[in-house]
């Protein structure tokens, strides 16, 4: 949605725009101004700038979101090792405190910028903008943004990424997508992580989790991975390769991409193929 052409006027808010033009008198005599802007328009503006920055350097930006402890950093470490020599990777790490995750990433010889958010429960586009300036984007192919571990707040803030990946670690339970629909609806790609634990868990049915995701009307693909057993890792790496190639194509055509979140039906895939695992 933008704030200028009126496309943010939906069936849900159209009635708020009363006759009388953009300015009118209320009964009490005060002046009334129609605004219809996203509450996060300043963040969204910065996010668009970040995205231009990534596009200008031909970089694919992927935002990783999950609960704390779902295995985002471990997935990144495994990804960095597997793609060494194929892609040049940079990482932006978001946590309330400590430099621990960035240090884990740097041990693999990959540049990592730690954002310590203090008390903020999410990254926003301004924080990411500052971090981006600490990365030499010309020397990178993929930038991962590891968001603050939280299944609620990060979903509301555009950072300038091209794709959202949401992780659900199997010990968390298979009904998390039903409990946190906003987060899972925001995902372009969903990973069930730590799936090597499935044999010892009796409360995670992958099919039930997939049904919860399907109920969110999202075309996001779902994959099960384990960085420990390396099960499913190849499929995840192939998804990244496909996305990187797609981003290179967009950059060559002067186009960009935002995470799906159902942009007016344009992203709807035909058939159940896109939903499979």
């Amino acid at each position: 949605m933008c704030d200028t052409c009126g496309c943010n006027i939906t069936a849900g808010n159209r009635h708020l725009i009363r006759p009388g033009g953009k300015l009118e008198r209320t009964a009490s005599g005060a002046e009334s101004v129609t605004v219809l802007r996203s509450l996060l328009s300043e963040n969204d503006h910065q996010a668009a700038h970040n995205r231009e920055h990534f596009d200008g350097h031909g970089v694919l930006a992927v935002n990783l979101m999950s609960s704390p402890g779902a295995g985002k950093t471990a997935l990144l470490e495994a990804t960095i090792v597997a793609l060494a020599g194929e892609f040049r990777i940079g990482v932006i790490e978001g946590d309330l405190e400590t430099e621990n995750d960035a240090e884990r990433i740097r041990r693999h010889g990959v540049p990592a910028i730690q954002i310590a958010t203090g008390t903020a429960c999410h990254l926003d586009a301004h924080m990411v903008h500052e971090a981006v300036h600490g990365l030499a984007l010309d020397d990178l192919d993929i930038v991962f943004i590891e968001n603050v571990g939280n299944l609620v707040c990060p979903a509301s803030f555009d950072l300038g990424q091209h794709r959202n990946v949401t992780l659900l670690s199997v010990p968390e339970g298979d009904d998390k997508p039903a409990k946190y629909p906003v987060m899972f609806r925001a995902a372009d790609h969903i990973l069930f992580t730590k799936c090597d634990l499935l044999p010892v868990l009796d409360d995670f049915d992958p099919e039930r989790a997939r049904r919860c995701i399907r109920d969110l009307a999202t075309p996001a693909r779902v994959q099960a991975v384990s960085v420990k057993s390396e099960e499913g890792l190849d499929a995840w790496l192939d998804w990244l390769r496909t996305e990187h190639a797609a981003q290179a194509g967009r950059v060559a055509r002067g186009e960009s991409a935002r995470p799906a979140v159902q942009p007016e039906g344009a992203h709807l895939h035909a058939g159940d193929d896109a939903r499979g695992g």
Partner: protein, 135 residues
């Protein structure tokens, strides 16, 4: 609780509009919030005084319109009500739906008083109303 961040962003927008309109005070702020925006209306109400204190919007009434979730089916074309964690078509049950309403996080309308409005109300000069030219 990211509602405080959202309120702080809202205060910034309200202040900018109030400056542009040469407002003396902001009386009412109207928002539209959908259940799929990721923002809780009740938490916004509680965070609002913390963000608005000592600003031009300090005394403004915050009115939050909570939008319903509606989806349009890409298969059968029906439009139906839906729940946050069940966005399937209410008619044919297909998952290929498009959200029509429910993810709003909008500042829809501001009511404000100009210095001249305050004077007029207190028996001072009257003001003529401007029309158009506003975002």
């Amino acid at each position: 609780m990211h509602e405080l961040s959202v309120c702080q962003a809202l205060v910034g927008q309200v202040e900018a509009i109030a400056r542009r309109e040469s407002a003396a005070r902001v009386t009412t702020i109207r928002l539209a919030i959908g259940p799929l925006s990721g923002v809780e209306a009740e938490l916004l109400r509680r965070a609002w005084p913390l963000a608005a204190g000592a600003t031009i919007a300090e005394d403004a009434e915050l009115i939050i319109e909570e939008a319903d979730i509606r989806v349009a089916c890409s298969v059968c074309g029906a439009e139906s009500d839906a729940k946050a964690n069940r966005l399937l078509c209410g008619e044919c049950g297909d998952w290929r739906t498009r959200l029509v309403s429910g993810d709003e996080m909008l500042l829809t309308r501001l009511e404000l008083e100009r210095a001249t409005d305050v004077e007029r109300r207190e028996g001072g000069a009257t003001t003529t109303m401007e029309d158009g030219g506003h975002v």
